[in-house]
Symmetry: C2
Subunit: 325 residues, 2 copies
């Protein structure tokens, strides 16, 4: 932050220092390079004009530090501003921002989309803190952040033939399962379920989400005649999904000649990869794994009190995840 600008404004000078620290503390991004770029943007960035105005309007003559709520609101408004700058730079192809290399120029437009989104979650999180609202405002912001960290994780793992199964699991846990667990958890919490039931709902949702994503990955290896999704789309963009990961380490020698072509893979290359994955049982192994998570979801569902809900949920899980109708 260009703190010098505020030297002659004792009314807000010290507050802005704290606002800066609050923002830095809230930037929780798994990707260390992106995190440091965002921190740099927060620290060396603008004049903090918008939070300064907010603080100025909260005061009369006092130079004592503003209360925590106001400091958080001030932080939120600077974070929101920064998020929109990052997205603007994508649109404008801007190479620079505040004298530094812009996020889109340093990391590419793809990262910049998610980086802006991540800051929206920080904005939301700060607002939730400031306004002492339902704890679920914060839960929502944190879940939004999980989704985006999962997306960024998946993006970073592109074309990485050394990625572990754990990386895969962590990424789909964010990008897909988080929203399922939030859905189940919120339904339970806001209909006055007790704490144990809410925790159970959350875990059921997570397991539905994980297996949902695994089955979606498997679909990529099916014939997909009636699917809306172009077959092998993931592979074309360097996302190595579950069936491939299941056989990649063991059959690297055979698979690498195709994978090494990266974006240059032809339709024939992708078909060859698909056939190898099928040949070595990647789809079968992926299905077996998905099955474990489905079974977990069903076991947990059976722990719910007997009700129409429980019956329907069981039917739904089977229908969705076993692809029966």
């Amino acid at each position: 932050m260009k703190l010098n600008f505020w030297q002659q404004y004792p009314l807000v000078k010290d507050d802005l220092q704290i606002v800066n620290q609050l923002i830095a503390k809230k930037i929780e991004v798994n990707d260390p390079k992106l995190k440091s770029a965002l921190l740099q943007m927060a620290n060396n960035g603008g004049k903090y004009l918008r939070p300064a105005l907010l603080l100025l309007f909260s005061k009369e003559n006092s130079t004592t530090i503003a209360d925590e709520r106001l400091l958080k609101l001030a932080a939120s408004i600077e974070v929101l501003h920064t998020a929109t700058l990052i997205h603007d730079d994508i649109i404008d192809d801007s190479p620079k921002r505040r004298g530094q290399v812009s996020i889109q120029s340093a990391f590419g437009k793809d990262v910049a989309v998610y980086a802006g989104d991540l800051l929206f979650t920080v904005f939301f999180d700060l607002i939730a803190d400031a306004l002492y609202a339902s704890p679920y405002l914060k839960v929502n912001a944190q879940m939004m952040r999980q989704i985006l960290n999962g997306e960024i994780g998946q993006m970073n793992a592109r074309f990485d033939t050394e990625q572990s199964f754990l990386t895969y699991l962590r990424n789909i846990n964010g990008k897909t399962a988080a929203i399922f667990s939030l859905a189940c958890q919120e339904g339970a919490y806001f209909s006055e379920a007790d704490r144990r039931q809410v925790a159970l709902a959350k875990r059921i949702g997570q397991n539905i989400g994980l297996s949902f994503q695994m089955l979606d990955d498997i679909l990529d290896y099916s014939d997909g005649k009636n699917l809306n999704k172009p077959v092998m789309e993931d592979l074309a963009t360097g996302v190595y999904s579950l069936p491939l990961l299941m056989v990649l380490q063991e059959h690297k020698a055979e698979l690498m000649p195709y994978l090494a072509k990266k974006e240059q893979m032809t339709a024939a290359d992708m078909e060859a990869v698909k056939q190898l994955v099928l040949k070595y049982g990647g789809v079968t192994k992926a299905k077996a794994l998905a099955e474990k998570f489905i079974q977990k979801a069903l076991d947990q569902t059976s722990q719910l009190p007997a009700s129409q809900k429980r019956d329907l949920l069981e039917k739904l899980i089977k229908r969705l995840l076993k692809k029966t109708n």
Copy 2:
């Protein structure tokens, strides 16, 4: 929505219909084509699996409609999911989504960035409604939407030599002034100012924001030796800012040969436009207009009760907006 999927689930079938309507009602986007694409995505889109799970977890055996709070949370979770899909499609270059042309494919990646962001505001708005929190959660969501509608408005006006001054004003009112007015308004509101003071703070912020943007536009026409921003950046991306708009209609014959080249304008073309704008007084006229808004901000500031805050605010406005140090 693929409602058929839920025919056999009476526990949530009717609720999902209402969730769908709630979402459709909340998609407030000025751009009519983008609005209809987002509505289509909401209406013909997915299975509403995540809101269905939320609702399912809120029930035991009752088929009566869930309460409004749960319906809004269910809507929020589907909107969040849709927002992330739109951004994912940018990263993946996906031509299709749910069997329809994807937003990024139909409108371009730039629109898709803001379209996803707009849905984040809808998400936030629904959460705010559902959780009966401080009215400022909703104010924040609405302001976030104003920013994004301003950005989309500016994007749509690119290379439009017929755009009115009113369009310009409306767009900068969204993309820049909204966050300034929110800052001033929040500072006042959360330090227990009375309603009149809060409204005054909001207007002061708006006028600071409007003149701030106008002066920023004018900077594009300065020599800009020590500026971080590449000179004439706006022009290169088809954003016709205030100085140019001030002379465009009157001197179209001279300006059009350059402007008609659009993205193909060379550095020499841009320099020629700059010189014409300067020659016909575009910068002077823009400065005069900005001056009016600065004066408004100062007049309104003088209506605040006498205090250090008021004095500092006056100094700040003069320093920032008259570019004195």
